[in-house]
Symmetry: C3
Subunit: 156 residues, 3 copies
């Protein structure tokens, strides 16, 4: 099964469609290619016009729901890559991802939130989805999103 | 008009001079070149010895003032690049910028703050100023700065 | 004296051993090589199973202790590089480090905390340890760690 087929499966499993416009909230580009490296801008769990996971993890949002937020960020990043490259099969590696989790003061499971993102990358991209990772707990995120994820991808 | 001339215009519009020493606050280098990529250290809105925009956005600092802080961070980064390269015309791309905004709990306009930075990059560098972007809301920044921005630039 | 010998000296000075397993807290890889660049995942001050510096800087943790936390993060990153490369002598540059400091609201010495990391990189790696740096104050970190540091290293 191709990574594109696995992407479609993951979207169905999450219950969201990533076929619409991938909106971004400002005056920049969603991804920028520099040689064989593609910088993907920070993605929040937005589907169409709605931010579907908002609030602080450990307060308004539990771990399971924050993980879904992380998965939606990854799906958006992959949708952007798929449209830009034609197919996710062209992604050769994801050298690093940065996971920012809007956190309550005593919420210390940022790594566990990020695991939602990591698992999905491995599931969809296979070995090409292996990545270095940094997860931190921030005070607030654009549009009150629970999670924001940026990443690097490489193509041949 | 060259990007260097547009840089000078932007400094006048902001009302600050970036001709003095660009001080940094620690034991590291302001920029580091690795092949054709230049890593620019996190810049806060410091002009000479003074941090000119301090406090949390949404609390002590409104959106418009935070955007000015973001612009000053970008001017510092560009001043460093200009001195290192001789001219901003040598900057071929700005693959990514990271924008950290000291935020009040309910301040969710980190993207709008970052737009101040993005607009200035486009204005001064033209198409070479297009960039991927990540904006998050942090709890505190060095010297109580309202904004901190790091970026990558590439030369031929 | 080689960088490996200086690494050993620094471990003795800190009073911790970095010979054991370098555990990471999630479903990702501790470092990922992309061409000549190695992305090192965010490191917290964990030695074996214990996070040895926890809590917010400026509250439960003073500056000196937070700097020790930063040093342990760097030791872990260097231990990972040493195991992967065989010797730290193969590290040619550390283009950038990102330092996330769990901060009390009024703690603004994130740069000073990061200086602990920067000094150790210079001390162990010599000129190859020069780096661009970004330091910010976050609200919380995985496992209540006081500091988290990610970095890039290059080999020939």
């Amino acid at each position: 099964m191709s990574s594109d087929a696995r992407f479609k499966e993951a979207a169905i499993a999450l219950g969201y469609s990533f076929d619409g416009e991938i909106r971004i909230g400002g005056n920049y580009v969603p991804l920028l290619r520099d040689g064989n490296t593609i910088h993907v801008s920070g993605q929040i769990p937005r589907v169409e016009n709605e931010i579907v996971v908002t609030g602080a993890a450990g307060e308004q949002v539990d771990l399971a729901r924050a993980q879904i937020g992380a998965k939606i960020c990854i799906m958006r990043a992959l949708a952007l890559l798929q449209r830009s490259l034609g197919s996710l099969e062209r992604v050769k590696a994801v050298p690093s991802i940065s996971v920012f989790v809007q956190s309550a003061r005593h919420f210390t499971q940022q790594s566990e939130v990020a695991d939602g993102a990591s698992e999905l990358l491995f599931k969809i991209l296979g070995p090409a989805g292996a990545h270095a990772r940094t997860s931190v707990g921030v005070y607030q995120l654009p549009k009150n999103a629970t999670v924001e994820i940026s990443l690097l991808a490489t193509v041949e």
